[in-house]
C-alpha cells in the first residue's frame, strides 16, 4: 500500500487576468505528503501555494501534471466524481472561516454531511459530536455572528471533519486570529492529527504555525523550492 496520501508531480496552472495577460501560478510543482503528516506550505504572496492547495483538494483543475490522492488519479475526474472527492476525501478550512451566516453552528457542520448524502438526522448527530470535540458543545445553536473568530474557526474545523476525510486543507487558517487564539486553533488541529491520524496541509505565512507542523514546504515562483524532507528525515531518524 502506498503511504503517500498526496502525490503531485509537474503541475502547471496559468490564470488569465485579461486579454493577453496571463499569470503562471504554477510552473511544474511537485509535492508529496505522507498519510498522517501535518505540513505547512509557505512562501511569499503569489508563489502559488494557495493554487497548489486548491488543485490538491480538487477545487481547481491543473493545466498539466498529475494529482493523486490516496494513490488514485483525481486530476482527470469530472462532474459527480469530482464533487464526491471534494466532499468526502478532503476537508477545507479558510482564513475568513466562511461559515454560512444564516445557519447555526450545528447546521453549518451538518450541511457538509448532508451534501455527502447523509440523512439530516445523522448529519446533525455527527455535527453535534464534532462540535463537542472542538470544544463548542455549548455553542451549537449560535449563528456565526454570535461566535468569536476562534469559535468560528472551530466550527469550520468540525465542518471539515464531518465526512471523515483523510486530508484537511487549511488556507491561512489562523490569518484572521490573534496570537493566543491562533495557538489554540493550531492546537486543536494538532490534537486531531495525533488522535485521528488526519493529514493536514496548512498554507500559512505564520512561522509559529509552521513550527507546530511536522514539516515545512517552501514555494517560490510556482515551484516547490524546499520540501523540508531533509530536515524531516533528520528529525525522524534522530
Amino acid at each position: 500500500m502506498n503511504d503517500n496520501i498526496i502525490e503531485i508531480t509537474g503541475v502547471t496552472k496559468r490564470y488569465r487576468l485579461g486579454k493577453d495577460n496571463y499569470v503562471n501560478a504554477l510552473r511544474g510543482a511537485d509535492l508529496t505528503v505522507a498519510r498522517g503528516e501535518m505540513v505547512a506550505l509557505m512562501g511569499p504572496s503569489g508563489s502559488g501555494k494557495s493554487t497548489l492547495m486548491h488543485i490538491a483538494g480538487c477545487l481547481d483543475r491543473a493545466d498539466s501534471g498529475e494529482v493523486r490522492l490516496g494513490g488514485r488519479r483525481v486530476d482527470t475526474l469530472r462532474g459527480r466524481e469530482l464533487v464526491s472527492v471534494r466532499g468526502r476525501e478532503v476537508g477545507f478550512i479558510f482564513q475568513g472561516f466562511n461559515l454560512i451566516p444564516t445557519m447555526t453552528a450545528v447546521e453549518n457542520v451538518a450541511l457538509a454531511a448532508e451534501y455527502a448524502g447523509v440523512s439530516k438526522r445523522d448529519a446533525i448527530r455527527r455535527a453535534t459530536g464534532l462540535l463537542e470535540l472542538v470544544g463548542l458543545g455549548d455553542r451549537m445553536r449560535h449563528t456565526p455572528t454570535e461566535l468569536s473568530g476562534g469559535q468560528q474557526q472551530r466550527v469550520a474545523i468540525a465542518r471539515a471533519l464531518v465526512n471523515g476525510p483523510g486530508i484537511v486543507m487549511g488556507d491561512e487558517p489562523t490569518g484572521d486570529l490573534d496570537t493566543a487564539t491562533s495557538e489554540e486553533i493550531v492546537g486543536v488541529m494538532r490534537d486531531i492529527n495525533t488522535d485521528q491520524g488526519t493529514t493536514f496541509v496548512l498554507v500559512t505565512h505564520n512561522p509559529e504555525v509552521a513550527e507546530a507542523c511536522d514539516r515545512t514546504i517552501n514555494m517560490r515562483d510556482g515551484v516547490v523550492v524546499d520540501d523540508g524532507m531533509a530536515l524531516f528525515t533528520e528529525y525522524r531518524s534522530a
Partner: protein
C-alpha cells in the same frame, strides 16, 4: 425553514419582490374573474337560448331600443310549421340607463306565462312560488337583486315606483335571471306605458303590447332552421336562433378574454422580471457562500435546486398573497346588494391557474440566476469579495 431564512436575509428586497408578484396575481385574479363571470353568463345564455327562437319586431316602426309588437303575433307565429308554442314577454329596465352599471342591466320582465311547461332552462325557486295566471302586482325576484330590493317572500318591493308583492325568489343561475324580476305581463305593460309619451300611449292598446316572443320548437326541429323559417313566413319580424347568439357573443367574448388575460399577464411578467432581478442580486451577493458550499461538497445540482427553490418560494408566497387579496376584494365587491354584485366570479380554475402560473414564472425567472450560481468556479467564488 432554512430557505425562508435565506429569502428574508434581505427582508426589504424579498418583500418587495413578493409584493410585486402579489400585485401581478391580484390583477390577473381580478380581471380574470370579470372574464369568468362574463363567460359564465354567456355560457348560461347559450344554454338559455339553445332550444328557443327569440322573435322581435322588425317593421322599423321606430328607433326605440325596444320596439313594441302586438300579441296577435303569437297566433301568426304558432301557425308556422315546427313551432310548438310562442310566449309573449315584455322587458322594462329596472333602473334608468345612465347609472354606472357593470355587466348586464337589471330587467323587469313581464310574462304571459304561456312558456310554462315548455321552458327547458333550469330555473328553480329558492323560496315561495312561481307566478300564476290571475296574479297582479306580484313579483318573482332574481337572486342578485334580493338584497338590493330588500325582497322577502310575502313582503313588498318597489319596482319603478310601483309596489309589488314578492311571491317567490329564484335560485342562483349565474346568468341573466339573477338580475331579473319577473312580473305578470299586465303589470309590465303598465310600467312600460309610463315610459311612453302621451300621444304614443294613447295610440297604443297597451294590453296588446309585448317586446318579444319566445318561441319553442316542436320535437326534432332545429332552432336555427326554425328561426329562418319564421323570418321567411312572417313579415316584419326578426327571429334569432341560438346560432346567431353564439356567433355574436362568441367572437366578442374571444376578444374580451384575450384583452383581459393579456393585461393580467403583463402585470405578472413584470413581477417575474423582478424575481429575475432579486435572484440575480442574491446570487451575486452570495457568490462567496456558493464557493463555500461547493468546497464542502455541494454539487452543481444541489446549488441550482437551492436557488430555484428560493425563487419558487418567493413566487409561491407572492402568488398566494395575490390570490388571497383578490379573493378578499372580490368577496367585498361582490357582496349581495353591492352595485357590482355578479361582476366577479373567482372560479376554481382561475384560482388554480393564476397560482400555477405564478409558480411556473418564478421557477422560470429563477432558472438563469440559479444556473449561473451552479456553474461558478469554486476557487473564483471563494476569492470573491
Amino acid at each position: 425553514m432554512r430557505i425562508l431564512r435565506d429569502i428574508f436575509r434581505r427582508r426589504l428586497r424579498s418583500s418587495l419582490t413578493i409584493f410585486g408578484i402579489a400585485i401581478g396575481v391580484f390583477a390577473l385574479v381580478m380581471l380574470g374573474s370579470v372574464a369568468e363571470s362574463m363567460n359564465r353568463m354567456v355560457e348560461g345564455g347559450t344554454e338559455y337560448y339553445a332550444e328557443k327562437v327569440m322573435v322581435s319586431d322588425d317593421s322599423g316602426a321606430g328607433s326605440m331600443s325596444v320596439t313594441p309588437m302586438s300579441l296577435s303575433m303569437i297566433e301568426r307565429i304558432e301557425e308556422v310549421e315546427g313551432v310548438s308554442r310562442a310566449s309573449a314577454s315584455l322587458s322594462v329596465l329596472l333602473d334608468d340607463l345612465g347609472a354606472v352599471q357593470m355587466g348586464m342591466p337589471a330587467l323587469i320582465i313581464g310574462s304571459d306565462l304561456r312558456d310554462r311547461g315548455f321552458e327547458t332552462f333550469p330555473l328553480t325557486l329558492a323560496e315561495g312560488r312561481d307566478l300564476e295566471p290571475g296574479d297582479r302586482r306580484a313579483a318573482v325576484v332574481g337572486a342578485d337583486l334580493v338584497t338590493r330590493l330588500e325582497a322577502e317572500v310575502g313582503g313588498e318591493v318597489e319596482l319603478r315606483g310601483e309596489t309589488f308583492e314578492v311571491v317567490g325568489i329564484l335560485g342562483k343561475t349565474l346568468t341573466t335571471p339573477d338580475s331579473t324580476v319577473y312580473v305578470p305581463l299586465a303589470d309590465a305593460q303598465d310600467l312600460f306605458a309610463e315610459q311612453l309619451t302621451a300621444p304614443v300611449r294613447e295610440a297604443l292598446d297597451i294590453r296588446d303590447v309585448a317586446t318579444g316572443l319566445v318561441v319553442f320548437h316542436a320535437e326534432d326541429v332545429d332552432s336555427d332552421e326554425l328561426a329562418a323559417r319564421i323570418e321567411a313566413e312572417v313579415a316584419d319580424v326578426r327571429a334569432v336562433g341560438p346560432g346567431a347568439f353564439e356567433e355574436q357573443i362568441g367572437s366578442m367574448m374571444g376578444i374580451f378574454n384575450s384583452v383581459i388575460f393579456g393585461v393580467g399577464m403583463i402585470a405578472l411578467v413584470v413581477g417575474g422580471l423582478s424575481v429575475v432581478n432579486t435572484m440575480t442580486m442574491s446570487v451575486a451577493e452570495r457568490t462567496r457562500e456558493i464557493g463555500v458550499r461547493k468546497a464542502v461538497g455541494g454539487s452543481d445540482g444541489a446549488i441550482m435546486r437551492r436557488f430555484l427553490g428560493e425563487s419558487a418560494l418567493i413566487s409561491t408566497l407572492g402568488g398566494g398573497a395575490g390570490l388571497a387579496l383578490g379573493a378578499l376584494a372580490i368577496g367585498a365587491l361582490d357582496a349581495p346588494g353591492s352595485a357590482m354584485a355578479g361582476t366577479f366570479l373567482l372560479s376554481a380554475r382561475l384560482a388554480a391557474g393564476s397560482l400555477a402560473f405564478a409558480v411556473a414564472l418564478g421557477v422560470l425567472a429563477g432558472a438563469w440566476p440559479a444556473w449561473h450560481a451552479a456553474r461558478l468556479n469554486p476557487v473564483e467564488a471563494l476569492r470573491y469579495e
